[in-house]
């Protein structure tokens, strides 16, 4: 909680301190770049950090956490310039409350069963049902946790129940699940395909059957009252076609799901 409040305070501070930043034109040599503050889902960390280094006319500051926590911060009055979530629903809800501009869906992902690469006790979803196998998932409120429950709901009831019984931790964001996995605290976890790609070979992905795969889509929106609205919109454009799209591809994200 303290960490969250602190990061909220930092975000607010970062936002307030740059009142004059908008006036600096991007081409000016020596002019300091305006600072763009971005609240983003934990699963976007690697892609966005790489994209942030490519930005020409702004320097990006990121706050990565569970999408739901970031949305709650915005509801409580925290104003980053951009909000990127691991589902389209959270930005859409903030849009309905008049807190952000119309959201854009900019990327897709897959949900996979991740296992430690060096010591895999689990080779398939069926293995996770066995008693004694341990599992980390996202808590219900964070998108990765709600996708996980969507998958389990599609399974026969007994199978879903057996898997849930092996859950040892409900983590507040995807970074927590990855951490528990790489530390060997659990045998398997449900995370995004891009998280496995970003784990430097520490994790391996067990693909879920296509019929279980939820439609994972990422939504982004400019926050109403953003200090750098122009740069924020340029950031979104770059995600759809440009350096951002490239960074997303490199990190293992998929194009936004159609329809």
């Amino acid at each position: 909680m303290l960490g969250l409040l602190l990061s909220a305070a930092l975000l607010m501070g970062a936002g307030c301190g740059r009142d004059g930043g908008d006036g600096a034109s991007p081409g000016d040599p020596g002019a300091s770049k305006p600072k763009l503050t971005v609240s983003a889902a934990a699963s976007l960390k690697q892609a966005f950090t790489a994209y942030g280094k490519e930005l020409q006319d702004a320097s990006a500051r990121f706050s990565f956490a569970g999408s739901d926590e970031l949305a709650a911060q915005i509801s409580q009055g925290v104003k980053p310039d951009l909000f990127a979530a691991a589902n389209p629903r959270l930005p859409e809800e903030l849009f309905k409350k008049g807190l952000v501009e119309k959201p854009t869906v900019f990327a897709g992902n897959r949900l996979v069963l991740a296992v430690p690469a060096d010591d895999a006790k689990v080779g398939s979803l069926a293995d996770v049902e066995r008693p004694g196998v341990t599992l980390a998932v996202g808590s219900k409120s964070v998108p990765v946790g709600s996708y996980t429950r969507t998958v389990l709901d599609k399974l026969p009831a007994a199978q879903g129940k057996a898997i849930l019984a092996n859950v040892r931790s409900e983590e507040p964001d995807v970074a927590g699940i990855v951490g528990k996995l790489t530390q060997g605290a659990v045998d398997a976890g449900l995370v995004y395909g891009s998280d496995v790609r970003g784990s430097d070979g520490k994790l391996e992905a067990v693909e879920l059957p296509e019929e279980l795969q939820p439609s994972v889509a990422y939504g982004i929106a400019v926050v109403k009252g953003a200090k750098q609205p122009r740069q924020a919109r340029a950031f979104i454009d770059g995600l759809l076609s440009g350096a951002g799209r490239q960074a997303l591809d490199d990190a293992g994200f998929e194009p936004p799901p159609s329809g």
């Binding site: 909680m1 303290l2 709650a72 341990t134 980390a136 409900e170 605290a185 659990v186």
Partner: protein, 267 residues
Amino acid sequence: MRERGWFPVGLVAALTIVLCFLTLPIVAIFVDTGPLDLLSSLGEDGALEALRLSLTCSAIAVGLIVVVGTPAAYLLATRRFRGRAALVTLIELPLVLPPAVAGIGLLAALGPKGVLGGLVEDAGINLVLTTAGVILALTFVAAPFYLRQAQSAFEALDRTWLEASRTLGATEARTFLRVAIPTAGPGLISGLALAWGRALGEFGATLMFAGSFRGITQTVPLAIYERFSTDFTGALALSAVLVAVSAALLLSVKLLSGSAWLGGAAR
């Protein structure tokens, strides 16, 4: 005349700022939550479980800390030996560790891939993601608060009393139990209250080492964090409960020790 008036005003102003700054967030928690919200938040799924878990785990942690920490602090307070200062600093180090560092340190030490992880596993003990892991994390972060206070309480004892007890034929163990502990009591108890409060509020180390699972490892601070995103009022209400419980603990412990409430503050 002017100068005499100016300084005390400054002192009062500073204290006022300190008071407002430290109490405002706590007051704000209660402004938004009526007594009814408090009760209904406790009725919610998982809230009572979290409270029960928090109380049990912190009580066990504090028990362990007192049983092992009291003699350890007595040794540090009554003996002079080489490297004592370094030892005291090492023991106090967790006081200034960020909880996340404590969590990652515990994983690196006792996690499945940690330095002693193999030993722990071979002994058939499972700590990570278990209630025992919560107790371990709480003990780690709270112990220095008690040790530090207990050490200074023992150091403040009048040595002639201890010597008199020895001269009258009491063994050192008897002197420790019958003279040192009762006399240092108020100091020990306020150390206990501090450690208990710290244990109740622990968040980061618990989340990293023990994870978050209802009824097993989800203590009140973790339950508050989980509610924050979906149910801000619920999170506030649960926070208010935690503040009330912590305050009640602190107060009752201080009242129990009698003189500690008034006189113990000087220690």
